[in-house]
Amino acid sequence: MELKLSREDAAFRDEVRSFIAANYPPEMRVPNPETDLTKEQSLLWHRILHKKGWIAPLWPKEYGGPGWSVTQRFIFEQETSRAGTLPPLAFSVTMVGPVIYTFGNEAQKKKFLPRILSGEDWWCQGYSEPGSGSDLATVRTKAVHDGDHYIVNGHKTWTTLAQHADWIFCLVRTDPSAKPQSGISFLLIDMKSPGVTVRPIITIDGSHEVNDVFLENVRVPAENLIGEENKGWTYAKFLLGNERTSMAGIGRSTRYINKLKQIVRAEIPAEDPAHLEFLRDIARVELDVLALEATELRVVAQMARGIDPGPAASLFKIRGTEIFQAITELTHRAIGNYGLAIREHPVSANRFMPGPDYGHTASEKYLNARKLSIYGGSNEIQRNIIAKAVLGL
């Protein structure tokens, strides 16, 4: 399905398409880019986009954005995801960047924004804590004034790729006496500061994606506070809004469905009754994608006319993640007995993995995809948001 594009937009789409074809680094085309690349490899595409001026579609021109329209941004997102490119680190470009240019001071903008764009700084997100998952407003990590510094103590968890990070943006409690939401501040912490410890959390797919981050008497310059003290909740919500809009994942789902069709064709003979059953299951999930894509295009058209979808964006998170989980389940089922095997991490070409290449990541993807309905505000929370903010229940 395509947007009806103006001649200029169609030309832009062609330009993006050919740029990707000519410039996407072949060494990033590995079986599972999310786990198989080193930090340096995963930054290759980031650096190419930066050089081209396309690294931060969301950002205003004055801070280094390309100055695209809503439609152009959507086209870019669609083309890069259809082509299977690894998106630049969201925590840097999509999350903390917009918070800094929207709520930060001039010195902070000057210090941090160029390094986010260039990929010099890798950011991670210090939101969740062991006692604060869905209920983020109860964060207990404390920041206490000490001259022109804060002393920070606490424990952040599920911190994605903290092992690579140069900086962490944290929600910290600066006023313990205030109501939960009103005593929180938004603080930027250098990961090299004494007292910061990163401990790996291995997930059920065997990969090391998330971490615990322990903060023990970490001295943070007061100049690293974003905006006003105790107003951090406003900035955090602003950021979570950005996290949810890109979660429909149409391009990714479409790619995985195409791969699934190829696996079913190769694994299950047409005369096997299971073949027809797979065709039906695949068609169902394709229709789910079609309906979500149509919804996305409708919302993009509305946004181009200046209408904000608001909390309805939760719909994309719910359906996008449910659809992708269903696709990974079908793929795992399609490879039959080979679904019992799983690659060992860290991945090495020397380790034997049975079965055809196209099935080698099916188990780990299936297991890893369970996280999608949990992170970024669980799907139960997203449904609460729609119930409350959209339906007025």
Binding site: S128, G131, S132, G133, S134, D135, T138, T157, W158, I201, I202, T203, I204, G206, V210, E267, I268, D272, P273, A274, E277, H332, R333, G336, N337, Y338, G339, L340, A341, I342, E344, R351, F352, M353, P354, G355, S363, Y366, L367, R370, K371, S373, I374, Y375, S378, E380, R383
Partner: protein, 376 residues
């Protein structure tokens, strides 16, 4: 219908429970899985000592005569503790085949060393592209004196790296997918011409791709009639795997329930949210239904009912879907913790996922259930 255990069965259950409680907690299991060999010979010896490896065999074969109900009891407890040792492969699959189709000489020669724990066995039937079809066999066997010589390749053979013997399905006549012409052969895993490429499975076991080049094997059962033997073997395996699944489902439900009563968000326990209460009610219902079908199937296996295969497929499908639903929800309700390698929840999830692949997934078996009805 609710099985009232006899005194002997109750004794079996409590002794397995005690052994696993004392020696097979989650940390002990983690160490076993991470060990070089990937399973514990010490545990295996303890199982033998307790008589678990003898329990299902008939008394004439040297066993305790407990039949499918004792398998159910053992496997239910194994499911609760995520036991990785190859009880299904050695006792249920290989032991069952030897007992049911082996000659008296083969029974006398093989079963005692299964019962005393000195030999490990497994069944090698899957081939590249065979999915869940026993008849999709390209491995060939040709007669050579009183023995046979096998050449071919078997895939995804669980426990093969641990095994002393393999039972291999191979074709003496007919074309790929013909029901006739497939036989079963006992092969020494260390025999010349047997080559293994080993790997780990998602549920912490070891498996291998097995290639056979002019390997000597001994016929088990009648030549060309292996498919019927394998089908009966699958029914027994399904009985064991269903009991294991029900054990795992029960553990996931109690872990989730406990967690929902202690985990606080928004100033209250998450178990007080109605949407999660209803989810856990559905998990409870799934467990109750699975438990009932497990008992129903085990009783039918004991009685040797005529419609057994259809019931086995029905149970495999229904309990498979129940396991998937409960595992999905247990991870979801545990939130990020459910995703970690550290917590046992994710390991139950992975074992239930594996059970859903072994001997056919729930979609395969629901179709087979329908087809066996149409054929009746």
């Amino acid at each position: 219908m609710d099985i009232q255990f006899t005194e002997e069965q109750e004794l079996l259950r409590s002794s397995v429970q005690r052994l696993l409680r004392d020696q097979y907690d989650f940390e002990a299991r983690r160490k076993i899985v991470a060990s070089e060999e990937g399973f514990s010979r010490k545990q295996w010896a303890a199982f033998a000592e307790l008589g678990l490896l003898a329990a299902p065999f008939s008394e004439t074969a040297g066993g305790l005569g407990g039949g499918p109900l004792s398998t159910m009891i053992v496997m239910h407890e194994f499911g609760r503790h995520l036991v990785v040792e190859p009880f299904v492969e050695t006792v249920v699959l290989a032991g069952g085949l030897i007992e049911h189709v082996g000659t008296p000489e083969q029974q006398q020669s093989f079963i005692p060393s299964i019962i005393d724990g000195s030999k490990i066995w497994t069944l090698a039937w899957t081939e590249k592209g065979s999915r869940f079809d026993f008849a999709d066999v390209t491995t060939r066997a040709r007669r050579d004196g009183s023995d046979y010589v096998l050449t071919g390749a078997k895939t995804m053979v669980i426990a093969a790296p641990w095994a002393d013997y393999l039972i291999v399905s191979a074709r003496t006549s007919g074309d790929d997918r013909d029901r006739g012409g497939v036989g079963l052969f006992v092969v020494d895993r260390r025999a010349t011409g047997v080559d293994l490429q080993s790997f780990k499975t998602i549920d912490g076991r070891r498996a291998a791709e097995v290639s056979l080049r002019d390997v000597r094997g001994q016929l088990l059962g009648a030549e060309g009639e292996g498919i019927a033997a394998l089908e009966a073997c699958r029914d027994r395996a399904i009985g064991a795997l269903c009991a294991e699944a029900v054990g795992a489902i029960g553990e996931l439900n109690s872990a989730t329930l406990d967690y929902s009563k202690t985990r606080k968000q928004f100033g209250t326990t998450i178990g007080s949210f109605q949407v999660l209460q209803h989810r856990m009610v559905d998990m409870f219902i799934a467990h109750q239904e699975a438990l009932s079908l497990m008992q129903h199937l085990s009783l039918s296996l004991s009685a040797g009912d005529s419609a057994l295969s259809r019931l086995a497929s029905g149970a495999k499908s229904k309990i498979g879907y129940a396991g998937k639903f409960v595992a999905d929800q247990a991870v979801q309700l545990h939130g990020g913790m459910g995703m970690t390698d550290e917590l046992n929840v994710g390991h139950y999830f992975k074992r239930l996922s594996s059970i859903n692949i072994q001997f056919g997934d729930p979609a395969f078996h629901v179709l087979r259930y329908a087809q066996l009805d149409a054929a009746a």
